[in-house]
Symmetry: C2
Subunit: 214 residues, 2 copies
DNA sequence: CGGTTAACTAACATGTTAGTTAGTATGTAC
DNA sequence: GTACATACTAACTAACATGTTAGTTAACCG
C-alpha cells in the first residue's frame, strides 16, 4: 500500500466561511431551513459541524446570512434598468435576458424563495426582492399595451407571473427535466441554457405582441 | 366554568386513513420526504402519531402511497386525450385547460414532484408521470409546425417545458404570490384561478402561433 | 525560538423525531 | 349483557439533530 502522508489543510478563515456559506446555500435550496442538515453542509464545505457554529451562530442565523447574500447579489443585477428604454418588446427582451443570464449563476435563488414562501410563510425574506422582478415586467407590459404593441386583453399582473414561470421553471426543475435531455447531468450548461433563454424570450415576445402592425 | 362533556369522536378506520393520507400529502408538499414531520401530519389529521404507524408502516411507506395515489389521479386526467383532435391550437388549448383545471384540485402534485427531483433524485417517482404531460404538448407543437400554424423556429422540447412553467408556476408559488393580490389568502380561489388559466392559455397560444395566416 | 492568537477538532450535552409497545375504549355479534 | 375484534392512546425507546465546550494545532510576531 502506498504511503499517504496526511497533510493538514491550510488554515484560511475567509475561505472556510465562504465554503460554509456556499454549502449552506445549496443545502437550503435542496431542503429549506427546517429540512437542511448542518452535517451535510459541513461535508460539502469540507469542515466539521462545529466550524459552522464557530463562524455562524445557529442554523437560522446562517440561513438569514445566505438569504442576505443572495438578495444583495440579485439587487445588483437589474439595478438602474430603465423600463422606458427602446420599444416595449426590446425593453422586455433585454430585461428578461438580464434576469435569466444572472440566474444561471444565482441558480439557488428561485428555489430558496419558493421554500421560504411555502415553509416559513416568507418570514425571512424581504418583499422587495420579488417586487424588483415583477414590477418592471408589469410596467413594460402596461407601456406596451398603451402604445398598442402589446395585446390589450393582457392582464399585466397575471401575465408577468406567467412570464416568470416560463423563465424560472427550467432552472427550478433542472433535476426533473434532466432525463428529457437524454439524462444530461446539468441542463444549465451554457449551450442548453442559451437555447432555453432564446426559446423563452421567443415564446413570451410572440405571446404578448399584437400581430397586427400598429 | 361551563361543564364541558368530553365526547370521544366516532371511530372510522377508512376516514382516519384518508385524513392521514391527505395530511401527509400536504406536509410532503411543504417539506418533502425528509423535512416532513409526522407530528404535524397527526395534528392536521386530528389523530396521534401512533395512528400513522398503525395504518402505515413508516414515513417512507406513507410517502410512497401518497405518490401513488397522486399519480393515479393524474393518470386519469388526460387519459384518452387525442392529440390529433381539431386544429393544433384548439388541441393545445384543450389539453392545457384539462391539465390546469385538474391542478386546482391536485394542487400538491407539482411541488411534490419538484421536491422528489431535488431531494430524492427522483428515486420514488415514475418517469411516466412527467412524460404524460410533456409528450402530448410536444406532439401537438410538432403537428402545428408541420401544418404551418405554429412558428417553425420553435424547439418543441424547450417550448413544452416553458409552457408548463407558465402553467404551473402560479400554483407552485401561491404562497409567494399572495401578497401581489393584496394578500388574498388563497390565490387558487376559482375566480382568480380562472383568470390565470385564461391568461396563460392566451400567452401560450399567441406565443406559438404563426401570425401570418396559413 | 517561545509565546500568543486564532483556526480548528473531538467529545459531549441537550433537544427532537421516528417508531414501538402495552394497555384502554368502542362498536358489534351472539 | 358479555365476549371479541379492532380503533385508538399514552408512555416509552433508540436514533438522530443541533449546539457547546474544553482542548489541540497551526500561523504569526517579537
Amino acid at each position: 500500500m502506498a504511503k499517504t502522508k496526511i497533510v493538514s489543510k491550510q488554515r484560511d478563515a475567509e475561505l472556510t466561511k465562504k465554503l460554509i456559506l456556499d454549502a449552506a446555500e445549496c443545502e437550503f435550496a435542496r431542503r429549506g431551513l427546517l429540512g437542511a442538515r448542518t452535517e451535510d453542509m459541513a461535508i460539502a464545505a469540507d469542515c466539521t459541524r462545529a466550524m459552522i457554529h464557530y463562524y455562524f451562530d445557529s442554523k437560522e442565523t446562517l440561513y438569514q446570512l445566505v438569504l442576505e447574500r443572495m438578495f444583495s447579489e440579485q439587487a445588483k443585477v437589474a439595478q438602474g434598468f430603465d423600463i422606458n428604454q427602446a420599444t416595449p418588446p426590446e425593453a422586455l427582451e433585454r430585461f428578461l435576458r438580464i434576469i435569466m443570464t444572472d440566474l444561471r449563476e444565482n441558480r439557488n435563488l428561485p428555489l430558496i424563495m419558493l421554500f421560504e414562501g411555502i415553509q416559513n410563510e416568507g418570514k425571512y425574506y424581504k418583499q422587495i426582492v420579488i417586487s424588483a422582478i415583477y414590477e418592471p415586467i408589469q410596467a413594460i407590459l402596461e407601456r406596451g399595451k398603451k402604445e398598442g404593441v402589446f395585446r390589450s386583453e393582457i392582464n399585466s399582473l397575471h401575465t408577468s407571473i406567467n412570464i416568470m414561470g416560463a423563465c424560472l421553471f427550467y432552472t427550478m426543475s433542472r433535476n426533473n427535466l434532466a432525463h428529457m435531455f437524454d439524462g444530461t447531468p446539468d441542463i444549465l450548461n451554457k449551450d442548453l441554457y442559451d437555447v432555453h433563454v432564446d426559446q423563452a424570450i421567443q415564446l413570451i415576445l410572440a405571446g404578448v405582441s399584437n400581430s397586427l402592425p400598429s
